[in-house]
């Protein structure tokens, strides 16, 4: 099992207390219903047996094409979704199946920055109200302290504290996203999940927001789970990276190894698609994948990637490859390396 190998690895390399988040065999299936009686006729396997861990203070990048389940994984971890199966260990505590009431203390520790800065802020509330809401929900601080904290947070993300009385529609996309980051910071979380936090922004604004996130990580000792489809963004911010395809984890390793020595054919294809950022760079050979991503409601048997894999073998169609540690800290789910 992939779970076993993961656990072995981290006890070998790191002390267990260094791990902030551990995801073991996470599954999230959405039922497909039809007919008057709403009978379940099938499942969309958005996340299928995904395992990884995040160490304290690091940034874990989760990449994959749209629809590969990376956002679903993030939302399951923060428990916006009920996981179908698997285990989510946060700071050693299993939070996968806690009820909303028992979950409340953990709500302070895990926060999320959302993708769409235009829908992530309530249009009917002022920025000050939006940022004070977490305090009100958790009954923290007095009125004056809340105000002071909100102003401090705004200042930290590079917005004037006076702007607290404004409504979201008065801000630009980048400014709204910074407000979203400030909101995620209000409760002093340990883990922040960024669900494509810069995908909706202009490139120039992207770097601003990424840099703020970097600065805040140092200042508050934050751990990030950074979900994105843009490989250069992930490369910029991540320490370790997980590559997902069709609900499954294909490869997990640290940033440098991934970009230098990608082992999974899917990762290789993905990386070959990054445009050169400088003319002097050696031209890579592009690996063009054929066909489309299969439907997650009816994923291929065996390795989900075998329909498009340039190096597919016969038994790839039958046997699901498990995520194995091929080199220290480098996990790959592929039959090529068996």
């Amino acid at each position: 099992m992939s779970t076993a190998t993961l656990n072995d690895s981290k006890t070998n390399n790191d002390a267990k207390s260094d791990i902030l988040l551990e995801v073991n065999g996470l599954k999230k299936y959405f039922p497909v219903k039809s007919g008057i009686l709403q009978k379940t006729v099938g499942h969309v396997k958005a996340v299928d047996d995904v395992s990884f861990f995040i160490k304290k203070g690091e940034t874990f990048g989760l990449v994959g094409e749209s629809g590969c389940g990376k956002s679903t994984a993030g939302r399951s971890i923060i428990r916006l979704y009920e996981p179908t199966d698997g285990q989510i260990l946060f700071d050693g505590e299993d939070i996968s199946y806690l009820k909303e009431k028992q979950l409340k203390p953990y709500r302070k520790d895990i926060q999320m920055v959302f993708q769409d800065p235009f829908s992530s802020l309530n249009p009917r509330k002022t920025v000050g109200t939006i940022l004070e809401e977490p305090f009100r929900v958790h009954n923290l601080y007095t009125k004056a302290e809340r105000k002071e904290r909100v102003e401090h947070l705004l200042d930290r993300v590079g917005l004037m504290p006076q702007l607290r009385d404004r409504y979201p529609h008065e801000f630009s996309g980048g400014q709204r996203q910074r407000i979203g980051i400030a909101r995620a910071l209000t409760l002093n979380p340990k883990l922040i999940i960024g669900d494509e936090p810069v995908s909706a922004l202009d490139v120039s604004i992207q770097s601003q927001v990424l840099n703020i996130m970097n600065d805040l990580q140092e200042e508050f000792g934050l751990t990030y789970l950074f979900i994105a489809h843009d490989l250069s963004v992930v490369k910029h911010i991540s320490d370790r990276i997980g590559v997902m395809y069709l609900g499954r984890m294909m490869e997990v390793t640290d940033k440098r190894t991934l970009y230098k020595n990608p082992m999974h054919p899917y990762t290789q294809a993905l990386l070959s698609a990054i445009p050169k950022s400088h003319p002097s760079e050696v031209k890579r050979e592009r690996i063009i994948l054929k066909g489309d991503v299969p439907s997650p409601s009816n994923p291929p048997k065996g390795c989900v990637f075998h329909t498009r894999c340039p190096q597919a073998m016969d038994h790839c169609k039958e046997i699901v490859p498990t995520l194995k540690e091929l080199e220290p800290g480098h996990f790959v789910a592929c039959h090529l390396y068996e």
Partner: protein, 306 residues
């Protein structure tokens, strides 16, 4: 990628931010401006203000006691003393219109508040929780919509003996379904918006999310529907009263004042008797519809949010 500008000293940052924010316009001022552009809506609002105002002030501005009968003066044509004439019992029509307006508007408003409250709550719960709760509540809505309203109203009112509060309750009970469907639809889309997810991730309770986060954004269509509903209730009350099943005499309403226009003699000889209550109903309902349409355009989120 250099260091972002925002790490520069505050003065520069302020300038940049002020520039991008531009002119400040509150949400309300945008809505008001948009509403005022619609001439019919403004006309409706002015009419409603006059109608509601005169109805409220009836005890002070009515020239006569609305119930004072003077049989010698039956069906007197409009004159200096009786501006809009008198009815078949010699009562002053203007005074009865003013007092009747209070009843008609009261029925309209209270029934609307009742219907909108039930409808909003049911729609919000169904839309937010979805699943079985939604299925159950929406089937309930389907059932209530399938009742033949006018017959049910007539039967209910007949069985319960007509009175103002029963009339209002029956109206509210039969009319919340439209609002429920409307609100449910709004909730179905709004609950997936990221600001709702954000509220969930900070641990906010469902009740607070429904009423504090989502409902304010769903109120636009509800306000429009509520405005139109008042007009509808006034019409319904008039119809029932016209049939003699609504508010009972001697209390006057616009509807029961019309009852006697059924008599051909009155219709022929005293045109002012059916005309003025009819005109009042027409003007009021029309005004509510104009205002409702104006609000619909002004509250359109596509206009507000950009």
């Amino acid at each position: 990628m250099g260091k972002p500008e925002l790490n520069l000293p505050n003065e520069k940052g302020e300038k940049r931010i002020e520039q991008t924010l531009g002119k400040r316009r509150s949400l309300l001022s945008i809505i008001v401006a948009k509403f005022l552009q619609n001439k019919l809506a403004v006309f409706g609002l002015i009419m409603l203000t006059i109608i509601v105002g005169t109805a409220l002030l009836a005890p002070w501005i009515a020239p006569h006691d609305p119930d004072f009968q003077n049989l010698r003066n039956r069906l007197a044509a409009p004159s200096g003393e009786f501006l809009l004439g008198t009815d078949h019992l010699g009562r002053d029509i203007l005074s009865r219109l003013l007092y009747g307006g209070r009843v008609s508007l009261f029925v309209g408003f209270v029934a609307m508040v009742g219907a909108v409250t039930i409808g909003t709550t049911v729609g919000a719960v169904a839309g937010y929780f979805g699943g079985l709760v939604d299925a159950f509540l929406m089937r309930l809505v389907d059932i209530i919509i399938s009742f033949p309203n006018i017959f049910l109203l007539i039967t209910l009112v007949a069985v319960l003996e007509p009175s103002l509060d029963k009339l209002i309750m029956v109206f509210a009970f039969l009319s919340w379904t439209g609002t429920a469907r409307l609100v449910r639809g709004e909730f179905l889309t709004l609950k997936k918006r990221e600001f709702v997810l954000a509220a969930r991730t900070i641990g906010m309770s469902n009740t607070k999310i429904i009423f504090g986060q989502i409902l304010p954004s769903a109120m636009g269509p509800v306000i429009v529907a509520a405005t139109l509903a008042v007009g509808g209730f006034i019409l319904a009350e008039s119809a029932l009263s016209f049939l003699g099943l609504g508010v009972q005499p001697p209390t006057s309403t616009w509807g029961n004042m019309l009852t006697y226009s059924q008599s051909v003699t009155i219709f022929r000889t005293a045109w002012w008797y059916p005309t003025f209550p009819g005109v009042m109903i027409l003007l009021t309902v029309l005004s509510f519809n104009f205002v409702g349409d104006g609000l619909r355009d002004a509250l359109d989120p596509r206009v507000i949010e950009k």
